[in-house]
Symmetry: D3
Subunit: 316 residues, 6 copies
Amino acid sequence: MTNGIRNHQVGDKVETYFLIKTSTKGTASNGKPFLTLQLCDHTGEIEAKLWGCSPEDEQAFCSQVIVHLSGEVSEYRGRRQMKIQSIRPTTAMDQVKVADFIRSAPISPDDMLDEITQYIFEMKNANIQRITRHLMKKHQTAFLQSPAATKNHHEFVSGLAYHVVSMLKIARSLVELYPSLDSDLLYAGVILHDLGKVRELSGPIDTQYTLEGKLIGHISIMVTEVAQAAEELKIDSEEVLILQHLIASHHGKGEWGSPKVPVVKEAEVLHLIDNIDAKINMMDRALETVQPGEFSERVMALDHRSFINHVSISLL
Amino acid sequence: MTNGIRNHQVGDKVETYFLIKTSTKGTASNGKPFLTLQLCDHTGEIEAKLWGCSPEDEQAFCSQVIVHLSGEVSEYRGRRQMKIQSIRPTTAMDQVKVADFIRSAPISPDDMLDEITQYIFEMKNANIQRITRHLMKKHQTAFLQSPAATKNHHEFVSGLAYHVVSMLKIARSLVELYPSLDSDLLYAGVILHDLGKVRELSGPIDTQYTLEGKLIGHISIMVTEVAQAAEELKIDSEEVLILQHLIASHHGKGEWGSPKVPVVKEAEVLHLIDNIDAKINMMDRALETVQPGEFSERVMALDHRSFINHVSISLL
Amino acid sequence: MTNGIRNHQVGDKVETYFLIKTSTKGTASNGKPFLTLQLCDHTGEIEAKLWGCSPEDEQAFCSQVIVHLSGEVSEYRGRRQMKIQSIRPTTAMDQVKVADFIRSAPISPDDMLDEITQYIFEMKNANIQRITRHLMKKHQTAFLQSPAATKNHHEFVSGLAYHVVSMLKIARSLVELYPSLDSDLLYAGVILHDLGKVRELSGPIDTQYTLEGKLIGHISIMVTEVAQAAEELKIDSEEVLILQHLIASHHGKGEWGSPKVPVVKEAEVLHLIDNIDAKINMMDRALETVQPGEFSERVMALDHRSFINHVSISLL
Amino acid sequence: MTNGIRNHQVGDKVETYFLIKTSTKGTASNGKPFLTLQLCDHTGEIEAKLWGCSPEDEQAFCSQVIVHLSGEVSEYRGRRQMKIQSIRPTTAMDQVKVADFIRSAPISPDDMLDEITQYIFEMKNANIQRITRHLMKKHQTAFLQSPAATKNHHEFVSGLAYHVVSMLKIARSLVELYPSLDSDLLYAGVILHDLGKVRELSGPIDTQYTLEGKLIGHISIMVTEVAQAAEELKIDSEEVLILQHLIASHHGKGEWGSPKVPVVKEAEVLHLIDNIDAKINMMDRALETVQPGEFSERVMALDHRSFINHVSISLL
Amino acid sequence: MTNGIRNHQVGDKVETYFLIKTSTKGTASNGKPFLTLQLCDHTGEIEAKLWGCSPEDEQAFCSQVIVHLSGEVSEYRGRRQMKIQSIRPTTAMDQVKVADFIRSAPISPDDMLDEITQYIFEMKNANIQRITRHLMKKHQTAFLQSPAATKNHHEFVSGLAYHVVSMLKIARSLVELYPSLDSDLLYAGVILHDLGKVRELSGPIDTQYTLEGKLIGHISIMVTEVAQAAEELKIDSEEVLILQHLIASHHGKGEWGSPKVPVVKEAEVLHLIDNIDAKINMMDRALETVQPGEFSERVMALDHRSFINHVSISLL
Amino acid sequence: MTNGIRNHQVGDKVETYFLIKTSTKGTASNGKPFLTLQLCDHTGEIEAKLWGCSPEDEQAFCSQVIVHLSGEVSEYRGRRQMKIQSIRPTTAMDQVKVADFIRSAPISPDDMLDEITQYIFEMKNANIQRITRHLMKKHQTAFLQSPAATKNHHEFVSGLAYHVVSMLKIARSLVELYPSLDSDLLYAGVILHDLGKVRELSGPIDTQYTLEGKLIGHISIMVTEVAQAAEELKIDSEEVLILQHLIASHHGKGEWGSPKVPVVKEAEVLHLIDNIDAKINMMDRALETVQPGEFSERVMALDHRSFINHVSISLL
């Protein structure tokens, strides 16, 4: 096999397997139908056009199908594009499976669960601990599979857990640096803040917003779940309210989707940590395929900025 | 008795009862303490200064006390002010009670409850009807007393119920005009949208935000209550989600406190009706003490605009 | 004939008449010219491509021509598109006329005029009544034909009158609910607020902005016309000024085109009613071709929101 | 007499005449009334407090009265204040008149009129020339007296004419530099753009907005007047429309009060010239009483900036 | 030769020379490569498509090559496009040179230098004069060639010098009109404000931002250069700081790229003059190819406005 | 001595030493002068009024004087105020010194310098290391004394160094978590980003902006200093440019004072770290004197939010 799409250069000849992520039919200016295939492997994605496709092709080359393809990496409007020479759907004979073509977190779900469990174990406040453990347990399976978003950052298998684990590490270093921070509250906030995404998003592959996601969103979902957990665990104290506030306010501002702005110190810090991990991840993603000295594509969620892949200063 | 504070002019001599709404201590430039009293009756409010007050005065003239006062209406920086000639706390002998001094809705709570009940009765969808009836019943007593806000509009006893009844009337006329509107959904949205204020606000007198109000707010409170009601009533259908969406989105935009913008037609219409009733109420309030041909004070919540009390055109 | 474009599904075979709304020439990537035809009937619109067109085709298939067409409804980038199998211009023999292909208000112009006349008749202030009647009479013919906009809402024959009639009905219900509202002023404001559109827009078919519309706009046009009407009728009183204010401020904010923000209560209410009728109309338009459970295209003028066509709750 | 308020320093003893611009009654913390007098001469203004005033004082020291005063310039919260030692109203014996105490343009009205007339005379397009001359003639007396604003810039007698003359000079230099500019249009725009202020403002002393100014504003007033002038002069050509556009758009943006943004080159240039003259005038005004090396008070209309009175570079 | 691209109408046959400004490869829907050529002469630009190009064509028709072309001006999506009938690269035999095809300032570099030198000569403050002369001398060659921007305004050979000369003329007329303005400071600010563009931009042909331009920009570059010049010339006085402030603040606002807003009067005026010259230039550019009575394309940098090419009023 | 101002409650009798931070003269409504004294010790500040002060008092009780005072902590408009019973300036006999009354960083300057030196020592890129060391050395004395701001955060002696040390610790933990980050660049950015404040601010006591601070600001100052250091050290490589970019962009947005937005990953991270340390410091400062369960005053720089001092969750 190859070293993955991400590392291919324009001009490379390719003969390998890909997963079709999405397949969209169009009509060319000569009136004939064609398919726009978004192909992926575990390292990245590339677009390909299948010109003059038959109705059978439409059936065969649809989303989630693994194909074998010969082609060449070309360029179109500044983006790499795969020029198809031949393409065929795979069969059992090819011995390939979908999981091999999907990007996932660099740490295994089990290891991440262990790490999160350790943070819960360290909590000193029993109410916070019980609510956090209860909700993690309730959604554990989905949580360990879920991406953290449909695009922009952590949009891969187990992306949500990976986002949480990274944030916990930053949280710990801030708790050490600023002793006035309440660690229980901050860790619980990190673990629960995006947990509602297991109901907001459709799952790790071809991720879409669910109806619930579109109508009420992961913040309202999780504020409600905390209330229900507290009821079930018969906890009725101020901690519940503060925990709900952390979740409700973690987007930081009304225009970013939070019904309340942070008025608890740990809520503001939760928002800042979320911001850091998401932004570094977005920049890493944008720079991944950029040559040294060149600028990335514009990143919508970072004010349409384009980032330079500068020379590695520390290694000069 | 007089015809109320609202109708007093500068220069009027006054000898009557007032309720102290708030009492704040200050220090004058001669170093002596004084009290700033916010006095009210059922028609409005006026400020008074009690200069050179003793520690006993501080005790005697505090919030919620009814006083008997002789004085004169003067003017300070364009606002009316009560100049105190004599003031004393009342006793049982005076036979006055707090309720007589508080502004309340022009319709009785019982009549408003009947009217709302009628709208619930008319609902055709059983799930919507049961959830609405369940939540109204649960909070009925508080709902019929609660103001709709701490200031700006409907900030009086039963203001919340009065706001809902007015909105229901507008809703009915729109349902008649636009047949595509779903009446059940719109009526339920109107009845429930602000119900969380019974937990967000402290009650009808000297209304404050509760801790819960400050940390999560009436929108998140009510989205959660709908979920809990549905669970209790064993209703698990799309209506629940849409009802939660109506509540979540009724402020119209993220920067106005809604975690989701309206994407259901009735949610947008709910927001528009809420807007109309609140704004007309605010303008009426601002114009209440303005002489014909004059402009009101600036209304913060209406983009700091000042409104003219124009001549009554239809009566010319 | 068929039941109209709006009700066609992808895959439907079509053999019927259409009106060409616009025809735009392009060059395909093979260097050959083609026409993009925007076809319409009285229920809606659909795009079609005429590939490899001759100079004669360009002449024949231009705007305002009625054609007979055989084809199939296909889909392109999520939008329905008409795939042309054969197309020909019609002749007198076909016995079709343009009026049959144009969308118009669901009430007849005469009925709408009667209704508006009734509101004018009810006015108690003679000056307001005379100005309103004078201007309605002056522009009556154009007013009854004019759309209310070039796109977004009420963009059809008699759309302006239909918009006014709907607003009058809302105005009446608000006047009943809020007795402090001045009905004469509000009704006159509703009737006149957009009347300048008869000079701002080019007319009901293929509606464009006139030079006057682009350079000064319907608000300035109408503020001027009220002044001229008052002069002609020898009315010189405060009502004229307030009426001009209602027109000038009815967009609500400077950034929405109003040279003055509303400072008269009825001006604010006029703006709110205008808003309601326009927004409900836009949502109805957006949802018109959306399947139950699906989301509409994004509506530019409603903050780019996409609306769900939810199940009809009241009918469940 | 002295060299004027503007040049007084803290600590200066003063014995001279002043005009009372405004007189406002207040109540001191000892319960006694006092007057806040805004005193002015032709160079500037200063505030004074008249403590413990009698009802007779209130009558005597009201707006537009000239007083004779002995006192000392002191400082309060960073602003100069006049400490009154003795004060008395003047009589005929004092031989002082209001006109001597009012700030006015540095050029005489007659000279300014001559200058403007010259620009009108130079116009080559008869329609533009006739409309401009007609409107200047109609409002000539008020125009030559009127200030250009109630505060911020050119808020003095003949300020409007002075603003126009300055702008005409800038306009001429731009016309010389950029030959593509249409001089007739630009000069007419400059002369007419703010002429509506003669109806928007109450006049040169204690300038207020008129009802007409508040309800429709000088832009709508003037757009209407151009239409009426054209009608009267029987001119019906595109020039009228473009002239109205220049007036309507001269504030540059909707949020700054223009119902249309400039889409004619001369309209944009008119806005830019207006901007320059207003801003330089505001900065000069703010810096007028500032010591070298110090910063001025914040100027609201210039984004709350504070300007430095730097050393005179060219003279070093 | 012809009278230039700018003056060609749709339908014109063309047989002439062009310079290829940019050449971009694409793939047509039939899978074949094509070139999009941006062609220019000294009057303007036009796009052309070279369909079905060979690898040799790609080599031959690249940026900076002069070609000889036969074709016809057509229209595509409202823009003119050159339809190529035949095209060939030129050789020495054609006797054409790049300089003939490039737009440049209407005044010669030498004349502009003379004019700027005159302003420097007039300066009375020796420090300001020496710094200005030093920096002009240092960058003289690049300055006289450089465009003032990559697009929008003065994006041609010597555009920067032309922009400076125009601004100096406006500055002089303002200095005459407002005697409080410090001419030395204003002239020096005009001459130096954009001088950093000689390092920010790559040069006059196919202008790009340099790495330095992207990372720190012409404002920071020039603030630094003034500090270095002052050090070198051993000038250590307040003038240096004020000069740096003029450069730093000349974009007027933080969101337009200035690290400080203007707090020196001449800094604000510098910003206003810069604005005027840039905006008039942009409008002239936009209107250059527009027929009388028509509207231009939308100008991004002028709030997306479209300007009308109105009839020449002064010539009617 | 006492345990400091910060810990005093309303009603406490106080007899101790204070430093006068600022002293401002006012005139009471009885016409007599008074002094508003801002008193401080090493824990916080409190305001006091000295009524009826003599000219000698004005001389004696000025900024930077240590006084001995008997008084009582009272409350005025929700803020604590010191009611003076007796006050006298101190003499050598009192054996008190200014340094004892000033707030400073909780770590000694020497320890902070050691820590920063260690980070410089670890740098692998010689150019980055040399520039950082050069500039730290150049400004070392001022840097170790300087506050980081005039208010809001780190506004105390050595506040700048303390801010840098905290940020370095966060930087190190992020470098460990995200291996793609270039540590040399990030550490150098942290150390240098605010170093220009030693020229922007007047020093640790009664901190003001210098003229240089107001006219060009610490960002432009430092971008220039890096250029000058590189010149002196004969370093001419891309690292210099990137380092300047980090400094120029560290406020994150144009409207927050950065002439360039971050386009280098480490620049964005530098901005995020700066944000975290500043915001946590501001919240700690705001909550410092707030009782458990109460809300703080509104914090201007944190969107006017008020923060709750919630119960210590981890200790429940």
